[in-house]
């Protein structure tokens, strides 16, 4: 059995007097123990909301969550708040986008690490301090004892994210959700953080859900990739098949819009025309249709069904892209170069 089985997850935001917004509209995917799964899509596709719904971190009022999310067979969406609170930080943990705003500015790093240890592992005093220092050391923060006494504003961006990772993995969670953990960091630090996550999940056997809009990130990290559009997964596949033969026109578009070093000089990037606001409701047809070059009248005949191929590839499209066209768009059936550079050197800046 998979560690996490998300079935038909739906999140609707509704405020009195306004039309409901279906931020997540029937998302299904599974995460196996120790697996790295990517949730990819552009801003507003519902990937962050999905993760917040899984963690139970969405506001209670004005939000309707439907579907199922079985963690170890127990539904995260219906379990009592106190049980979920016990699981958060211990069984499942989360890393956020902006490390500075995600850390409490008026509390030393040390306390922000030890409070997790105290809450879930009952550790106090010197043992907790020592464990916190070990954790910081493990995520590659030099001189951890001193850093424990420092405040978030005294750390560099990369170190802040490392500290947040330390807090997240403090109780060796079985599932880690990383919501665009590298977006706020510069490129070399991004690579180091990704490498660190990769190492940690491998060492601890933690499953990781990587939420990103950066296909370069998933290429270097993920076993399984789910491409989301307008609140639904439009294509899901293992890493190689997805990059080698993307089927949904949206995935193809995403791949085509990655800048490549081996592209001929002067060649322009191929953006996906329009914006995520141009979509139509899934009930009326394929939400991507207004922006899709493959659009036919059939696309507007209700939501496209999920097609499962025998290779484990799944897509939601009535006019899937064939191999030849993919070739034309992505230039070659190779993976984009993983944007991981050697991260063993810790040049992660001074406070």
């Amino acid at each position: 059995m998979a560690l996490l089985e998300v079935e038909d997850l739906a999140v609707t935001f509704q405020r009195k007097g306004t039309a409901p917004v279906h931020a997540v509209d029937g998302v299904s995917f599974t995460v196996a123990e120790g697996q790295v799964v990517g949730l990819v899509g552009e801003s507003g596709c519902g990937k962050s909301v999905t993760s917040l719904a899984l963690m139970g971190l969405l506001a209670k009022r004005g939000v309707k969550v439907g579907g199922k999310a079985l963690f170890d067979g127990n539904d995260l969406l219906t379990m009592p708040g106190s049980t979920l609170r016990d699981m958060r930080g211990s069984e499942m943990a989360m890393i956020f986008q902006d490390p500075l705003s995600s850390l409490n500015p008026v509390i030393p790093i040390g306390l922000q690490v030890t409070e997790v240890l105290k809450r879930h592992r009952g550790m106090k005093g010197e043992p907790a301090e020592k464990e916190a220092a070990d954790l910081l050391d493990r995520v590659g923060i030099p001189d951890p004892r001193r850093r424990l006494k420092e405040y978030p504003h005294q750390l560099s961006g990369g170190m802040r994210q490392r500290a947040l990772i330390a807090m997240a993995v403090a109780c060796r969670p079985r599932l880690l959700i990383a919501d665009e953990p590298t977006t706020a960091l510069d490129v070399t630090i991004q690579a180091q953080i990704l490498e660190l996550l990769k190492e940690l999940v491998a060492q601890q056997g933690t499953a990781l859900i990587m939420i990103t809009h950066d296909l370069g990130v998933v290429a270097g990290l993920c076993d399984e990739i789910n491409v989301m559009y307008a609140g639904r997964v439009v294509e899901g596949a293992a890493r190689r098949p997805l990059f080698a033969s993307p089927t949904h026109p949206y995935s193809v578009g995403l791949l085509g819009s990655i800048p490549r070093l081996d592209a001929p000089r002067g060649e322009k990037l191929k953006p996906i025309p329009g914006s995520v606001r141009d979509n139509i409701a899934w009930a009326d047809g394929c939400a991507f249709a207004p922006r899709c070059a493959h659009r036919t009248d059939e696309c507007l005949d209700g939501p496209p069904a999920l097609v499962q191929t025998y290779t484990g590839h799944a897509y939601r499209c009535v006019n899937p892209v064939t191999g030849d066209e993919v070739e034309a768009v992505t230039a070659a059936a190779t993976l984009p170069a993983p944007s991981i550079v050697d991260a063993t050197t810790d040049s992660d800046g001074e406070a």
Binding site: F96, S102, I107
Partner: protein, 334 residues
């Protein structure tokens, strides 16, 4: 830290110097003079001039100012024109009353305002929130003297739960040590006297607390609402911390930063005298005395009191800044 405090205290000197000039010029440019208050309206011009000369007001302003400064460096503020007692003594006798009133009023405002503001924020957009916001608006709108009279009419006159005026019952035979009546009772272990003084404080303090209370409620509510939406609160929730830890350590601690500043400023405001409250409850603080001094053109009292209040204001601001640096590591002072 120490250097910072010393530097701030040294800044007081030019501040006070500037203030003294402005104040002196302003007071002496007011129409009329102390002789008008002292003499009958039918007094002759010669009589007026005589009184002015006796008070030393016939000399050029610059000379008068020089005399004031000369006394000031010896911490002598002169004698009141109306009572004849040294200004320092007048201040020393009245200020404790104002301090007691301010302290009790601020305790009421803080103890009621912060929890209420916090709860309103937690119940944002619900009935409780609406009631709190409206209620606090009422607190700002109701004139203090009106509120004072209503409190007096209900709780002192009708129900008889509280005394209606003064700082202590006249038949209480209390030993004076510090002029802080409540404190005196504690020091001399005359508990009855202390309690009696405290009892006299309640109604005026409630009346005086109405505005600070309303401001603190609104500041707290707005600040908590802002902090509740911060990423680090989400992080704290994601760590699975207990609700009380999230609230106390992550929400309240951060939300208190702006509230502390306003508490400091409000306290400074109250210490400079609550004329209306003191008048309604015949509470002998500096507020009512200052108000009389203005109409009497009692220059030494006005100069002296306002200068001392300015010093207190600066000290309170310093205390606020120092407390800020303790609460928020990002603004640590050097």
């Amino acid at each position: 830290m120490l250097r910072y405090i010393v530097r701030r205290l040294l800044q007081l000197v030019p501040t006070l110097f500037g203030l003294s000039i402005l104040l002196f010029a302003w007071l002496h440019s007011l129409p009329g003079g102390p002789e008008a208050a002292m003499l009958d309206v039918r007094a002759t011009d010669a009589k007026r001039a005589e009184v002015r000369a006796a008070l030393g007001l016939d000399e050029p302003l610059i000379v008068q100012y020089g005399r004031f400064m000369k006394r000031l460096v010896r911490f002598d503020l002169g004698d009141s024109f109306t009572t004849g007692t040294p200004v320092m003594e007048e201040f020393g006798r009245r200020f404790p009353a104002t301090v007691e009133l301010t302290v009790v009023a601020m305790i009421i405002a803080i103890c009621a305002g912060i929890p209420l503001g916090y709860l309103a924020a937690r119940r944002h957009g619900r009935i409780f929130d609406g009631l709190t916001v409206t209620g606090s608006l009422l607190g700002i709108c109701i004139p203090i003297f009106f509120l004072g009279f209503i409190l007096k009419a209900i709780f002192a006159v009708k129900l008889g739960w509280f005394p209606s005026l003064g700082r202590q019952d006249v038949d209480v035979n209390a030993t004076r040590v510090t002029e802080f009546y409540v404190l005196d009772g504690i020091l001399t272990q005359e508990w009855d006297a202390s309690l009696n003084a405290l009892w006299h404080l309640i109604l005026p303090a409630i009346a005086l607390a109405s505005i600070p209370f309303a401001i603190i409620v609104r500041m707290t509510r707005a600040s908590v609402l802002e902090v509740l939406g911060e990423d680090y609160v989400r992080t704290a929730e994601a760590k699975g911390l207990r609700e009380n830890t999230v609230r106390g350590r992550h929400v309240l601690r951060n939300a208190m930063l702006p509230v502390v500043t306003s508490i400091g400023l409000l306290t400074g405001g109250l210490l400079s005298g609550a004329v209306l409250t003191e008048t309604v409850f015949v509470f002998g603080g500096i507020g009512s005395f200052l108000a009389t001094a203005i109409s009497n053109r009692d220059y030494p009292v006005l100069m002296g009191f306002i200068m001392i209040i300015a010093v207190i204001y600066v000290l309170i601001n310093l205390a606020v800044d120092l407390s800020y640096s303790v609460l928020d590591p990002r603004v640590r002072v050097r």
